[in-house]
């Protein structure tokens, strides 16, 4: 049944993008969670990739060859991710994969792509270890937690000057790494002192206990790491309990869904954001126009932009390397990337991490994200 579904999906993709059949297509594999708890993120990324591929093909493809996407669902499970990668590499003969979302899935897929000397370009996964395993053919089109924290902590220390800070984060890879890197950076720049740190179970719905404790400690700032839903619920409960601390949050909450769910409670909250649909620079506008044309509305999350950028950067590199037959030439092309997307100018370090990518600090005002720096 699953096979049939994936086949249909692949067929659909082939039909929608395989119009120009003049030249041998450039096959690119995509692995993302399209069902399960991370489905909305995965769908966002894939939508962005599809929009980009469509524009690339409209502009004549890569050196005259159209881009052909082969998309598989990993349900945010490392096992499913690896079996999708198997199919892509051995059956579909794909040499480059865009994926995945969850760092644990990407890490599992990386084991295989590294062995097969295939390229893996992740639009989303932030775990530092991905670029530390010595994979020459791995590139990350996103800032890691540490990179984002550097910008955000700098702003917090200079503009908000809190003396004490409390942390409330989801008990997962992302939550732990965000809090860890925030604490480290604050310690190195004489930032606020940690007075409370707790990790909640991602299945939690009531945060009263944590917030009661936090209220009694009355920290100057409260740093929240969680997806849109958790962050919104925490904000509402914190507001109801009369917590006066300045609320800081990671970019995961930077979505339209968060603003809708949190409503007034989000007022005056600061976030570090890679991108938001409120941005109006030319690259963001080009992306938004394309996305709205394809899907009828602006994207909910930043994930679509991440897919869009990963696809464009990949296409540029393949164009420069004149195909994917020589992996080392393609690696050189990736390292020579100099492309400006909605999130800023992209260049890469030797280990595959981005160099000098921008993160913006935004504040919530009138139920909108407003840039305050970056």
């Amino acid at each position: 049944m699953k096979k049939v579904r994936v086949l249909c999906l692949a067929l659909f993709v082939l039909c929608s993008f395989g119009t120009a059949r003049a030249a041998e297509p450039v096959k690119i594999g995509v692995i993302a969670p399209l069902t399960g708890s991370q489905a909305n993120l995965g769908t966002g990324v894939v939508n962005g990739i599809k929009s980009a591929a469509k524009r690339i093909n409209d502009e004549g493809g890569i050196n005259g060859s159209p881009v052909e996407l082969v998309i598989y669902d990993d349900r945010n499970s490392p096992d499913e991710g690896v079996s999708a990668a198997h199919r892509l590499i051995y059956e579909d003969k794909v040499k480059l994969i865009l994926g995945s979302i969850g760092s644990s899935v990407t890490a599992a897929v990386q084991q295989l792509t590294m062995r097969e000397r295939a390229f893996l370009v992740t639009p989303v996964s932030m775990a530092p270890k991905l670029t530390q395993v010595g994979d020459k053919y791995f590139f990350r089109v996103t800032a890691t937690a540490a990179m984002r924290q550097k910008v955000f902590t700098g702003f917090v220390v200079h503009a908000l000057k809190p003396k004490t800070i409390a942390y409330l984060a989801a008990n997962d890879d992302l939550g732990r790494s965000e809090v860890e890197s925030a604490e480290e950076t604050y310690a190195s720049i004489k930032g606020p002192k940690t007075v409370y740190k707790s990790f909640y179970d991602p299945a939690e719905t009531s945060f009263t206990a944590y917030l009661t404790k936090i209220k009694s400690l009355n920290p100057d700032a409260l740093f929240i790491v969680g997806d849109s839903v958790h962050a919104a619920v925490i904000m509402k409960q914190a507001k109801a309990m009369g917590i006066k601390s300045t609320i800081l949050s990671s970019g995961e909450a930077g979505t339209a869904q968060f603003l809708k769910l949190a409503g007034n409670a989000a007022k005056g909250m600061y976030l570090s954001l890679d991108w938001s649909p409120v941005f109006t620079d030319p690259a963001s506008k080009k992306f938004l126009d394309a996305y709205i044309l394809d899907y009828g509305k602006a994207p909910d999350t930043k994930f679509a932009v991440q897919g869009w950028e990963a696809m464009w950067i990949t296409a540029e590199a393949v164009r420069k390397a004149k195909g994917m037959s020589n992996p080392d030439k393609l690696r050189e092309a990736f390292l020579a990337t100099n492309w400006t997307g909605p999130r800023g100018k992209w260049t890469f370090r030797e280990n595959g991490d981005p160099a000098g990518v921008t993160t913006f600090v935004v504040v919530v005002k009138d139920n909108k994200f407003v840039k305050v720096s970056g």
Binding site: A39, N40, N171, S198, F199, Y200, D201, A203, E204, T205, S206, T208, A209, Y210, T212, K213, K215, S216, V229, A232, V233, K236, Q237, K239, A240, M241, G242, Q257, L261, G263, A265
Partner: protein, 291 residues
Amino acid sequence: MQLLLQSIVNGFVDGFGYVLMAVGLTLVFGIGRVINFAHGELYTLGAFLAVLFIGHQFPYFSTVFIAPILVGLLGIVIERFIIRRVKKPGLSIWAPFLATLALLVILQSLYLIIFGPDPQIVENPYAYDSINMGFLTITGQDLIVSILFFVVVFCLTWFIRKTRYGMAMRAVSQDRDTSLLMGIDIDTIYTLTWFLGVFLAALAGVLVTPKSTVDPYIGRMPLLKGLSIVIVGGLGSVEGAVVTGICLGLIESLASIYISPSFKDGWGYLLVILVLLFRPRGLLGRTVRRG
């Protein structure tokens, strides 16, 4: 001191929500002899109806009554057309249990189709106003939950203790066959019990969810907590459910502050294990006679 008081208040409010779930479960079990595994889904339905009604400009206070009544009517339908049909001699005694389990899956899938997977919010104007008494903060929602809890428990106790139907319910729970011989219309009592039990689940949903969000899968935790309370309090015992539910709320709240917030959902199960080991009938339970 302030922290202690606040955690006690939080514990009571959480406990009230648990009690509403547990009393419904224990009524349906004590009288109907069925563990309703779909109880959590009826809690969810109450919450979804609240989202729907309030979205259509219904005032919250009428929603609090209308939504549970509608869900209660669904409870009657479930009892009449599903439970009663599978509770026949000749069919396995497990048939009603499996039926409610199937209902859980069916309802969950229906919610996914009808309401979608995205979390939604019960827009309650009072939820985030709070009364600040200097050292203690009570949100409007907490106050509503507390007041309605006492009203409902009072009415329920009066109904069960003082009315003819209540007496009949107690009689059926004690001895089904004798009640039948005494001329009690058992089918009506079953229907009434299901209505009440399901009404309470949906009421819990309408009251508790304004503090968080509503999606098709929120029913799991309330069901598990409700079941633990029913086991600890004694299967079929309403008093046991009330006492245990409030205790569980208090234990969770205090332990989260003074021990570890990560273990919050573990206390209920720990209590279940202890009670099963040392007092299998439950704290206030009586021996269940099979009739």
